[in-house]
Symmetry: C2
Subunit: 317 residues, 2 copies
């Protein structure tokens, strides 16, 4: 179980390696949203997403020299691959063969061995278990791991510090949610350091397992994990470790359409000069397009690894 | 004449208004360049370029309530318009009618009155002088103004602080150069605070008035200011105030092709998740593609206000 002390310890291990990302805002974006929108720009993190935090946290907590195995459609893969290379250890990454080309290429470029599998016909978990056993690798899952959650929680520590002088009242922190590692980590951190901040998960419409799980109080599943451009954040269900944390600390979940996510990508380009991927932009989309939020909203833009063709499409909407 | 004390005073007036922009780097970008490339991301500045600094510095140094007039093809326009609005004063911006649409739209959105003129047939300076006299406005030129140079120099203060722990030896700081306000300001700041850093101007090939002026020791002119995609940094000649500063403190000027600038825009997208405009990316282009630079190079990405069509073009190269 992830504790606040583990988040602080992860932050200490990250010093000098993980970037403190800026909290951006733009007058013309605020006007569009009709509220003040503060954007935690994790797309500017090393490897282009917050996943470098969890990767670094998990790798740096292992006995030195331990090789690692991760399963990921992309951002977790790059985070773990980079962290492993920086620690001088072996990384094997199991990726679906239909993952975005840029994510596969970058994972290899960081020095990892990439093993592809077919999402439709092969059993990812069985392949992972076999590889880990055969080669003596430590498994670093994308969210259900105490040190991964602790690493993602360092975003919350930074948010608490970066907004300390703002005199904020109760304020929502909108967080893109796949398995819930980032949302849970931030929720734990701000519960301790900035209890006026409340995490709310944001998901693509039709893939709202976290929102339904939060509403019902127990794990709900998505009928499918394909069929949205927000590929980075589609998981079958919230994590075993993450949902209990979210049930304790998070507010009701939000959803946005693919069109809204794509428009948020375009608005981040125009007003923040920030490259976001659709799954990474869902919280910005919610900040821009959800009625009834407060005068100030914080949102995390969690990643910016997007194929040029899709980015171009977002600019033509 | 701009002094170091004026730069520090400008920084004090900016506190809480101007963003301290991050110094980014990316492992895969370093590999591409064959050296360590540290990127000062001024495209993430309020209004999308470093010009917000000079605008704020100049406006905040005026007697309260004084309205302002600026001439600009875009980034200076937005910087002054934003700073004026934040100070509650009137801003009139004189822009060429062929300036990028996004820059004209944003300048208006910040609340400025935009007056368009035809670059080919009308005399910009005469129009500006008439407007300033008729309406009692203070002229804020884009670079030849002591407080504008002081404002841009705050980038140098930040660079000195952000690289203080790196143990750098003599290191080049590559700076996109139009009239030379940014390069001169940074040169003044680092001469005092980090004398191992040396500013070098970067310009588009064929528009290398600063490089030729630095080489010859006196003002040289471009034969034309049209015919490059780096529209943000084409000026007839270095400034009366900026060139003497650069002659004292800067190294030899560099140039890059339009194709290299456009490729740098694409690399910033892929590896830094940063939106850059071509003129703002020339120093990154030089860092990536110039043989013979040192093991570590600092470059300023000075702006990110780019029309979607041109950005799309950069991604297809």
């Amino acid at each position: 179980m992830t504790s606040f002390a583990m988040i602080e310890a992860a932050a200490a291990r990250m010093a000098g390696h993980i970037r403190q990302t800026p909290l951006l805002h733009a007058p013309l974006l605020d006007r569009l949203a009709g509220r003040r929108v503060l954007v935690k720009a994790e797309a500017l993190q090393i490897t282009g997403s917050f996943k470098a935090r969890g990767g670094w946290s998990a790798v740096s907590a292992l006995p030195p020299g331990t090789g690692v195995l991760a399963m990921s459609s992309g951002n977790h893969a790059q985070g773990v691959a980079w962290a492993a290379a920086a620690h001088g250890i072996k990384a094997v990454i199991l990726m679906p063969s239909d993952a975005p080309a840029v994510k596969i290429a970058n994972t290899k470029a960081y020095g990892a061995e990439v093993v592809l599998y077919d999402r439709a016909t092969e059993d990812r978990d069985a392949i992972a278990a076999r590889l880990a056993a055969e080669r003596g690798l430590a498994l670093i899952p994308p969210f259900d791991h105490p040190q991964v959650i602790a690493g993602q929680g360092t975003v919350g520590l930074e948010l608490a510090k970066q907004t300390a002088s703002f005199g904020l009242g109760p304020t929502d922190v909108l967080v893109p949610c796949g398995g819930g590692g980032l949302a849970a980590g931030i929720a734990l951190a701000v519960a301790q350091k900035a209890p006026h901040l409340r995490v709310r998960t944001v998901e693509p419409m039709g893939f709202d397992d976290a929102a339904r799980s939060l509403a019902s109080g127990t794990w709900q599943r998505n009928p499918s994990t394909i069929g949205t451009i927000c590929d980075a954040i589609t998981t079958p269900s919230p994590g075993q470790l993450t949902l209990p944390i979210l049930l304790e600390h998070a507010g009701p979940g939000l959803t946005v359409s693919d069109a809204q996510a794509l428009q948020a990508v375009a608005e981040a380009f125009t007003h923040l000069r920030l490259v976001a991927e659709p799954g990474g932009a869902v919280a910005l989309a919610a900040a821009l397009f959800t009625p009834g939020l407060g005068d100030t909203v914080i949102c995390v833009v969690s990643g910016g690894n997007i194929d040029p063709a899709l980015f171009t499409q977002s600019l033509q909407v």
